[in-house]
Point group: D2
């Protein structure tokens, strides 16, 4: 079977997590996240992000995290600001709108928002009651385009948000990839300082499933477990996610896996570059988007799995992902095949 | 630590499931339930329920299953009929109402609805556009009270529903316990024949997490994956649930685990009965509700974990659950302690 | 044609209101409630309720008022407490649930809630995140049963609500009838003191249409016009309601019309009582519910329009309403016909 | 006071409508649209649109009509296609999203959609369950820019919609202006033939308030009154709107008023053109958008009320509306003042 570079969730689970499950055996625990594994995991995460009073909640997936956090934060007439390529706007089947909230978009650049983007949306709305009231800024880190924000960029956004009564929420489905990118000077503690809420993705970084929602702003902490339960997100066996995050945040496993995935992608990117191809966006994380002539892309599809992200005249921007489990020789094979074309 | 009879989801996961995960290693699979494990699991379930054309979807939890199925089936003005003790009415933080739909309740008996209950609700509404339009009947099997429907009872409800343009939806969080109860003459295939949709609970029967939604009615099949995604229920690693259901429905493991839990509860119930105590509802599955004098209940709490379900004058109706992992000696200990009081 | 006692909105509009419209001619005004008529009406209402800082918003109907105010006040997991016969629970087609909120009901008595009813609901929920969080108490004045609260009763409810972080909202579709009832010692200013928000009904007291929402609690004032617009309640020609309320609250017309309707009903009630019939609830306002033998009710239907409210064995509880426009001789005719039976 | 060209709902009501109300006096009618006035109005409308089996419902305003019809037609994952300047996307405070549905936008041109716009949205979505499913096309007639569709244009849209399982819904807040435009060859019966549902605006064409929803597609007729009630749109005194539409559709009053308003705007437009100014969009109805140098616009504001629609470099696109009640001399004054600048 040909290797798939389609996603970073194509392999089941890191062996250390399975070992953790096995070690528990049939010992009993409390339901709904009140167990010791979830407690331990929360402590480890709070230490990692240097935010002792952050609230941590575990949930099964990213779309679910997004919709619970956002709908919990907003009054009915309040809206989200996001970049046009944002996951919540494009690829979550209207999950945010289904909770009643409009997403106001701006162009952004390379999957990223900047302060002037946000400011334009505010200016367009300007307190007019015939329009929604933008109240929360949604940012992905890393972005849908595989890019990262720098500390200066995110700090400016955060400052602007808080000066303008906007919440800043970060979709961290690939937070590990971002914070372990050579292009990113952000630390975990910066994220916790800048954002009102964010989530740390497990699904795309070695977990069987699960994400950790982190709430930093006290206002947003209030009654969050009610909201989680109401939207179907409070699992009876939340402990099953707790165990995983406990494992991922022990001995730096989370960063190790993300860094491995990034390194695979960088090796791939450098090889592609050497062969003379360019990239649609800077190759900064485990998701890279090289541009190939359509004929080349077509031939690559024969032996390698990946998505065509965009057609640009006679070229294809190809989306390639690596993961914590990508075998090194698959990268070599890809580059070798590409070199032949 | 004292043993907990509080829930049937207090132990992590059956070892065979862990073995299945281990056997997969790092081999790759498709995302969002389009993987071979989910396919295999669906085939096994379809065979078990004798419904080759049923649609099977995997989701992480029961509340989530309930809200996705119900909101997918109804137009905005349509409502649910449920018994007052129904999980969706009492213990899901208004999850159904949060999707816009009212739940019309009836008293029922022992956690069960009957045809005349449903009929009363229809009569009260009678097509009046100033009231909601009841459109879906929600039934739990086994119920919140640990009771089961007989084939005659469920068949009558199903017939009435379909004669009155009502969908019948069965919450099967504990379907294994029900179908493996001595008091229940229903088969899996009956459930599929009687219900328009139902789910088969994994979380409470040995899975790490996960439920299998089964859609039998063609109308309800349409676009269901959109709905699943929109509500945050379509997991990238749906395969992780697929593997589990494949394991549970291989070599009859699902029934074996449920039967074991039931047998534990029956042993407990018989012991309690012999000691002269009665039950709030017939003890038919792995959830039983004996009635103890408050002083007895209080002393039992010292060494055994369980919930007080209800105060009845000077008595306590105590909710006790056994699981696929309940150690036999814990039952003996409970009965021995009870005998001493 | 036989006279209808079915409703108090069966006649079009009080002539003084038509005169007010005629007097305006084609002079221009601002849209969306920013006109001088709405301003004048708001001033008159604020004076009447002795609440100079109350926010006043005009909306076309009562169900609409209820759903906008309630959905504006609550977070997604928060719920309403109402009596079982409450209009929002029975006769608004699930309008509140359609905005995502559950209604927790209690029995009440004669259409009225008391503190212990509310307390029971709180005790049942008790901060459990698996259940909704009751946050707003809904009270009708007068009630669906035509009854009124006394000042002591409503004061106790208000005090309990505010001590328990509950909003008190009053549906005043028939507020005029209530405050002009011999049985009610409440003043307009009491309503404004006790309630966080309420509405003053125009539709059922001589207006062509329209209700005045009054918001007393500052928290609830915030961004209310956004909510009003979002739910379709901010009319371009809000001025058309402003003119009506200006007229109704000039020279005491609102009270005059309500008192007239009440007096008609009292005359009817006394006549019925003299003929030996009893009432299902105390006859206190313009809605009365006498109990007739079924055969009597049937004969009355021949010449008089009214609804059968309830069957009680061989009797019919008949709902009779009078309005600002009920002709006196129609009451005499009804009583004469009844005397013959 | 300076004359306002801001809106076509700045004057209260046409005198003939007041006369109709006066003629009714205190005679009684049924509630909730089951009255004879609403019946008569519906008959007149059905005759006008040549659709004897259309369902007609009256509602108080346009935003309300839009949200009730659209939310009634769609399943939760289904979305609307609209042009970016569409009223529902920009100026209804997220009313459609508040009912759970996303609006997919396209650029359009002059406030108008064309088939290729719609096709692009379909192509982008292409049945992918990670995206919403476009299901209803929203068109305004006349548009926010004052433009109209031709019969060929609307016919093509309608054909495309029905070939692609899309509903076509027309916001007819200014349908009178459109159908009485020199630039529009559409008849009322064409609208009813092309659209699955639409509404005929009263608020902006002489009514005190109120719109007539027309449902042509049988699927959409089902249970519509439930939906209307649930969203707060079923007025007890629907008769008050019935009377108005009966009057408007008697002796051609509706068209007469719209034509008058159009003629006023055309006179204004021709005058402006003669003075050498151009228009942002073709001046086709009672809403025209001439472009003035900013300094000119500023001076015009001194004596004439209108909105600045858009800044274009050193120019202002000014939005001017005329109505059924615009005095002819106000147009002369405007043109005279403009000539002086």
């Amino acid at each position: 079977m040909k290797h798939s570079f389609k996603n970073d969730y194509s392999e089941m689970v890191h062996p250390k997590i399975l070992e953790s499950f096995a070690a528990i055996g049939n010992s009993q625990f409390e339901g709904y996240g009140l167990d010791e594994f979830s407690d331990d995991a929360a402590l480890l995460i709070r230490a990692k992000i240097n935010k002792p009073d952050a609230d941590i909640h575990f949930i099964s997936g990213g779309t679910h995290a997004n919709l619970v956090v956002i709908s919990s934060a907003l009054r009915p007439h309040e809206a989200v600001i996001a970049v046009k390529s944002g996951h919540i706007f494009v690829h979550e089947t209207g999950a945010i709108e289904a909770t009643g909230h409009k997403i106001c978009t701006c162009e952004g650049s390379g999957g990223k928002l900047c302060v002037s983007d946000i400011k334009s949306v505010l200016d367009e709305h300007a307190g007019d009651e015939h329009m929604v009231k933008p109240r929360l800024v949604y940012v992905s880190l890393s972005t849908e385009c595989g890019t990262v924000y720098t500390k200066d960029e995110l700090s400016a956004i955060s400052e602007f948000c808080h000066a303008n009564d906007l919440y800043l929420y970060i979709d961290g489905a690939r937070l590990g990839a971002a914070l372990n990118s050579f292009a990113c000077d952000l630390e975990y503690s910066d994220i916790a300082d800048f954002a009102d809420a964010f989530f740390i993705g497990g699904t795309k970084n070695g977990a069987l499933f699960g994400e950790a929602i982190v709430i930093c702003n006290n206002t947003l902490k209030n009654d969050f477990r009610f909201l989680l339960k109401q939207r179907g997100g409070l699992m009876a066996k939340t402990a099953a996610i707790g165990v995983q995050f406990k494992t991922l945040f022990t001995d730096n496993l989370y960063d190790e896996l993300a860094l491995y995935a990034n390194n695979c992608a960088q090796k791939l990117a450098e090889g592609i570059k050497k062969l003379g191809y360019s990239f649609l966006y800077p190759a900064q994380t485990n998701l890279i988007i090289p541009v190939f002539p359509a004929a080349v892309a077509e031939k690559l599809h024969v032996s390698h799995g990946f998505y065509d992200w965009q057609s640009i005249e006679s070229n294809i921007a190809a989306r390639l992902l690596t993961s914590w489990a990508t075998p090194g020789d698959k990268i070599d094979e890809f580059l070798a095949d590409l070199a032949k074309l």
